[in-house]
Amino acid sequence: MKSGQKQTVLRNIFLSVFITITIFTIGISYWIYKDVEHDRVKDLKYISAVISSYYELSFKQWELTLLSVGSRLTEFNGENAAVERLNFAEKALKDYSQQLLAFGFADTSGQVITFTGMGINDSLPNLMASKNSRRSFLKVKEVDHLVIGEVYFFQNVNDWIIPVRVPIRDNNGQLLAVNTSAINYHSLLNELKTFGIDVNYRVHLINSSFNTTQLLYPLDSNLYYQYLQQSAEIYEDYSSLLKLGNIEYFSAKSKLDGQSILGLKTDLQGLDHHLIIALPSQLIFQNFWSSFQIILLAYVIISIGLALLINYFKRKQNEYLIELETERANLKSLFESTNSIIGLFDSNQRLIQFNRSFAEYAKNTDGIELYVGMDVMSHMKNSEIAAKFRDNQSRVLKGEKFRETLEYPTDNDSLFFMFSYNPIYQGQEVVGVSMFVEDITALKNSQKKLEEYNQKLEEMVAERTHQIELKNNDLEKTLLTLKETQEQLIQSEKMASLGVMSAGIGHEINNPLNFIKNGALAMVDALERKFPDSKPEFKPYIDIIEDGVNRAANIVKSLSHFSRKGGALDESCNIHEILDNCLTILGNKLKTHIQIEKNYSADPLVVRGSEGKLHQAFLNILTNAEQSIESEGIITIKTEKIDGKAVIAIKDTGCGIPESNLSKIADPFFTTKPPGIGTGLGLFITFAIIDEHKGKINVYSKQNLGTEITVTL
C-alpha cells in the first residue's frame, strides 16, 4: 500500500497549504480594509473636531443648532430617508440662512446629507444653495465617488476669515482632500497638528483675483498632492465629470508623473479657476482590490489544480484498487471453480481457507461442514487417516513439501487421491500448510481397466497365434498334398499325352504292321507253293519278320491301354485272388530256385476297380521281382488292411535298383534289360493303373539287397 500512503500524504500537504493561503488571504484583506476604514473614520472625526472647536466660542449656538439638526437627521431611516433628511435639513437651514453663508450636514461617515450656504460673495452661496447644486453634489457623490461636505459655515468676512473647509471624500468616506479658503495656512496647519493630523502637503498658491489661498491638504505624500496651475498642458485624458453651474469637475491624467487627478474647474469672477485634486493612484484599496483579485485568482487556480491532482491520484488509486479487486476476484473464481480440493491451514493445523470443492468432498465423504478455524482432522470418521493427515501437516510445518497418493475409504467404494503439500512462508518462517488434492479415482479405475484389457488382449493374441499356428500346419500339410498331387498330375499328364498319342498311333501303326506281316506271309506262302522245297529256307526270314511285327504290335497294344478312358472300374476285385492268379500265370516262368512267401492278411481285401487292369499291374510287379533275382532268391507277398485300405507289399531279394534309377523306374520305355527282353513299359503301366484306381505305390530298393514295392488301394 505504499503508493496509497504516499497519495494520502500528498493530499494532506496540498490541503494544508490551500487552507493556509485562504486564511492568509482573508486575514490580509480584512486587516487592510479595516485599517483603511479606520484611518478614514479617524480623519473625519478629527477634521470635524478641528472645525467645531475652532469656532466653538463664537458660534456655539450655531453649533448646537446644527448639532441638534444633525442629530435629528439620524432619525430618518426609512426608505426615503435621504429625501426626508434633505427636506428637514432644508427647512431647518432656511431659518438660519440669513446669518449663515453656507452650511451643510454630513454624517460621521462623511456622507453629505445636505448642503447649503452663501459664499463670501453672493454668487457662490447662491450657487451652492441652488437646488441644482444640492442635487448635483449628491450626484457627484454617486458618480465620482466624491464625498463632499462637512459641517461648515461662513461668518461675516469682515470680522475674521472664516475658512471654508470642504473635505473631499470618495463614496467610501475616504478623505481625499480638503478644500479651504483660509489665508493663513500656517496657522491651519498648526491647528491640524495639534489634533494629531500630520499632514504632508504641498502648498501652491493660486492665481486668482481672490485674496485667498486655497489650500488642499493631501492625506499622505504618496497619494495626495495638489497642483495649482492654470495651464491645461500639465494634464491629459481630460474627461469632464460633472458641471455644477460654474463648477466643472473633471478627471485627467498628470503629464508630470502620470497620476490620475481629479480637477475642479470654476470660473471665479471671470477667471478660469482650476483646482486640481490628485486622486490617489489606485489606492491601497484599489491596490488591495487588484491584489485581492490576484490572490483570489491564484487561489482559484490552485484549488482547481489541487482538485485535479487529487482527482488524478484518486483515480489512480481507484484503478489500482480495481486492479487489485479484479485480481482478487479472478483468484477467488479460480480458487472456487477448480474441481481440485484446495485447503489452507495455519500452524495449529486449523483451517484458514477452503474452496467449494473441498467443502463438497468433506460433506459427501465424512458429512463434515467446513468452516474457518475448524480442526478438520478431529471431525473425520476414520481416525487412522486423520492421524495420517495430522502427521503430514506437521511434516509440512517443518518445511517439507511432498506429494502422496492415498486410498480414502468411503461408505461405498474407496476413493483415490493425490495429495500435494506445500508450506506457506512468511519471510523465512513457515506459518501454514497449503494442501492441494486431486481426485484420481477415475484415473486409478481406468488404469485397472487398462490392465484388464491388456491381459485380455494378450490372451486373445495367444489364442489367435495358436489358431494361426494350427492353420499354418494345415496349410503346410495342404501344401505337401498339393505338391504330391502336382507330381501325380504331371505324371498323369505324361501318361495322358502318351495315351492320346497311343490312341492315334495304335491304329496308324497296326495297319502298316498288318501289311508287313501278312504281306510277308502271303508272299512266302506263294513262294512256297512255287518252290515247295524252299520252305525251310524261308522260315528264318519269316520268323524275323513276325518277331519284329509282333514286338511292334505289343508295344502298341501296351500303349493303347491309355487310350481307354477311366471306365470300367466298378468291378469288385479280390486282391488275394488276383495275386494268386498272377502267381499262377508266372508259375511256369518262375524259376524253381525262387521261393514265394505269402503273408496274406486274415481279412479278405476287396477293392473296386478293373480286375483285368489290377491283374496286369500286379503281374508287372511280380515279373520285375522275378527278373531281378539272378539265381536264388525269395519273393515275399504281404497283404494287410490299414485304415480301411488294402496294403500289398511285394518284396524281393533281387539285385535292387540303384538310387540313380529310382526316379526313372516308372518312366515309359525305361528299362535296364537288354533290347527285346523288356519294353520298359511294365512299371509305367502299373503306376498308371494304380493311379487310375486312386491308390498309392511306393518303391523302396537297395542295390544288391532287393526291392520292396508297396501298393495301397
Binding site: 497296326n510 495297319n511 498288318n514 506281316k517 501278312n518 502271303a522
Partner: protein
Amino acid sequence: MADKRAITVLYVDDEEANLFLFKVTFQNKYKVITANSATVGLAELQNHHNEIIVVISDMNMPQMNGIEFIKRAKHEYQNIVYYILTGFDYNDQIDSALKSNLIQKFFTKPFNASEIEAAIEQAAKSSS
C-alpha cells in the same frame, strides 16, 4: 464236314492293301468277298447273303464305321456271324458290341491268320 470252299466270308475294309492281304491269305481256304466300304459291303450282302457265313469288318471307315455297318447288316441278316478286325485295341465300343452280342469276336491288326481261321471254322460249324 462242309467243303471249305463253300464258306464264304465277307471282309470289309477301306484299305485296299488290307483287302488284298486278306484275300491272299484266305482265298485258298475260303471264298473271300471284299468290300471297300460299308455301303459296298451292304450291297454285297444283299447279293450274297445266302452264302456268306461270316462278315469281318474294319472299325475305322469313313462314312460308316464298322459297328454301324454290322448293326445294319445284322438287322437284315441275323444268321450271319459278325466279327470286327481293327487297328485299335479293345475299347468301349468293341466292349459294348461284344456285350450286346452284335459281334462274337474281335481281332486286332496285324491279324493272326490262324486265329481268324479258327473263328471262321467255329462260325461255319454253328451255322451249319
